[in-house]
Amino acid sequence: MMSDSPTVPSGGVNRRDFLRVSGASVAGGTLLDMLAARRAPAQIKGTTLRIIMWSHFVPAYDVWLDDWSQQWGKANGVNVRLDHIPQLELPARYAAEFAAGTGHDLIYFQGQILTAQYYKNLVDISDVADKIGKKFGGWIDSAPQLAQVQGVWYAIPDFYISIPMLWRKDLFNSVGMSDPKTWDDFRKAARLLKPKGHPTGMQFSHCNDANHNWRALMYCFGVKETDPSGQQIAIDSKEMREALQFAKAMYDEGMTAEVYSWDDASDNRYLASGVACWIHDAISAFRTTEDTNPDVFKNTYMLPEAAGPSGLRKNVADANVYAIWKFAKNAAAAKEYLLALNDQYTAGMTASRGYNMPFLKDHYKKPMPVLGADAKLSVLQDQLGITAFFGYPGPITPAAQEVQSTFVIPDVFTRVARGASIEDSMKWAVGEYQRIYAKHKA
């Protein structure tokens, strides 16, 4: 028969148990203290806050967030309901909620940042953004690109997912290379290592990583998708042609045809299987390798981004932002929740195992949680200043969103890699941009 009370080992409490129990008490106490420090206004007491969000790639983060949200709810008398759904289903869900004029109070854009599409139906939360920004040294330069429309904050950036270069030191050393810094270095390594059974790979397919990775290469080569206002197309450039030419050479020399079929997780497996000499992926690949292939993990190192021909480095990250529907029944509680959540950066970053890169400048003070304590991950502390998002240097407008959703960039790189001429491929891609941007201007 099971007892309700926890059993105490006959030999007394050992050191591990003591640390676990005392650590949990301290952590719990600290969390409650922090929650108590920021009391929400009385008018939200007795209300319900409905939140929808993705399922984080690091499940432990969801466990932490769910737990913290419940504790915040209890401390403030708010019944918090947090629904996690797969991130690919979020856009369809928002379209449905918008059409119905009802749904969750606090919504979450992951990867596809729909602020510019929905801003007319989102609450102006500039007051919340200003408070958080002032408290933590200001927002990083690329944050407004995701959260502002015409200078007004309609979203609060939560965190972004860095997509660095993950490379195998042992393999690089075997061909006389160490400490790679540029795209040229990585291309050379792939050229030398492919014949030895260790090619590289970046997705030439219709997946999110393909949208990120080829844009990172483009931006490092100096390509601009639009002007800073996001209105004028700027992709038809010498730099874009150079980026395509480089990608074609890198594919021919250092990749196999597998990359045409890859999804977002294929490169993770490629690294973890010990085949890849390097990949360009989020640190989930690093973590997967840590868990599944310790030998490979031991030799896997990281670089926030490789530099282009002129030394430019731009890392195209996956962003996550919160927003509040205008038809939300509990916007007041949603705002309080966001203010309180932003005080929890260290706990969130720790729960995400270093995945959640901050949007606030103060959080880059070294040592950063998790990253600062790990020799390999510590390079990500220098990510500030190189982070860019889709549509760079413009904001993520609905037109930029459509270019992303219809995979124009992965497709133009695929065409060139498959042997189509750069000029023909450019003509097609520029045509797609013009057609899409013209539709959104009309």
Binding site: P91, S205, S261, P398, Q401, S405, T406, D411, E432, R435
Partner: protein, 326 residues
């Protein structure tokens, strides 16, 4: 009881003007044919309501969206006429998706017909464990599509494909990394073949079951008589079996065409339309433009291009079916 003349009795001139129409209605209602009609329409009403609400209204709403500049974030949409259809026709990607949709539907349809027919003839034969086999055969059709397609995604994986591993073990292809190692979802022709293959795998048991239902309804003496008359298997199939089960076959074909042409899940989960649009079909393109990119009007217009493709096929099938009935 005497039937009133058609059109009902003339209003009584002595009645007040307001009562005259009511008297006419009452008189009409006394006719048994009118009551029969009313009863019939009452019974039909739930079905009409059901079709109207669940099919008619969404269709009209799609038409409205396709002729407007509706987007996911705009509460008010403007009428733009045929602009969205024009925009679709101006896009090279649309033609690729249209071509792929036709190849996907026709190719998969032919393969499903051949395999479904063969399977149905095998299953109609008496053999030990036939009931178990009949039950097992419908598994692909009954499995949740996301689960089965993800299974296939693994089997088509570029690195860990069990199909490639088996072929390699049989020395039909080289090892992983060799030039002969197929990348099922990465080579344009193979990718389109792969998505069609999964559709066929999932759909042909349905065809077989439909055909099997038809085959079991044919009195065996008719087929035996044809056999005695010297009709070969093909002649019996073409001249006796097909004509007798034609209504079932037509309905099955109509369903299958509609489901295949509008099938989003398989392509979405396996390739998402890639690489370079080689598996892009109209439903995936409509989803990308309409939902992911938020241009509801243009997305609806793309999806409505399925309608003129399906309509003639369904009309031909239903007309043929009606002709055979009368």
């Amino acid at each position: 009881m005497t039937d009133l003349p058609v059109g009902g009795a003339a209003p009584d001139a002595s009645l007040p003007a307001t009562l005259a129409p009511r008297a006419g209605v009452r008189a009409m209602w006394r006719r048994p044919s009118a009551r029969r009609y009313a009863f019939g329409y009452t019974l039909l009403a739930p079905a009409v309501l059901y079709v109207g609400l669940l099919v008619g209204l969404p269709f009209l709403f799609s038409l409205y969206l396709a002729m407007s500049d509706a987007s996911v974030g705009e509460p008010i949409a403007r009428f733009v006429g045929l602009e969205n259809f024009k925009a679709a026709l101006e896009s090279p990607t649309f033609y690729v998706a249209l071509r792929n949709s036709l190849v996907f539907t026709i190719g998969a349809g032919i393969m499903k017909s051949l395999l479904g027919t063969t399977l149905a003839f095998l299953l109609v034969q008496p053999f030990k464990g036939r009931k178990v086999v009949r039950a097992l055969i419908v598994i692909p059709f009954t499995l949740p599509i996301a689960v089965s397609v993800l299974g296939w995604k693994w089997m088509f994986d570029s690195q860990f494909s069990v199909i490639n591993w088996a072929l390699s073990q049989l020395h039909l292809i080289g090892g992983y990394g060799s030039a002969s190692w197929p990348v099922w979802l990465g080579q344009p022709t193979l990718a389109l073949f792969s998505v069609m293959f999964v559709n066929v795998w999932r759909g042909f048991p349905f065809g077989a079951i439909v055909l099997l239902a038809g085959l079991t309804s044919i009195p065996p003496e008719i087929v035996d008589a044809a056999r005695v008359d010297g009709a070969s298997f093909l002649a019996r199939f073409r001249k006796v079996i097909v004509p007798m089960i034609a209504p079932i076959l037509f309905i099955g074909a109509a369903f299958d065409t509609v489901f295949t042409l509008s099938d989003l899940s398989i392509v979405y989960l396996l390739t998402n339309g890639g690489p370079d649009g080689s598996t892009e079909i109209l439903p995936t393109l409509a989803y990308e433009v309409g939902i992911r990119a938020g241009a509801l009007g243009r997305g609806a217009a793309i999806s409505l291009f399925l309608f003129p493709l399906l309509l003639p096929a369904i009309i031909i099938l239903l007309r043929t079916l009606r002709r055979r009935q009368y």
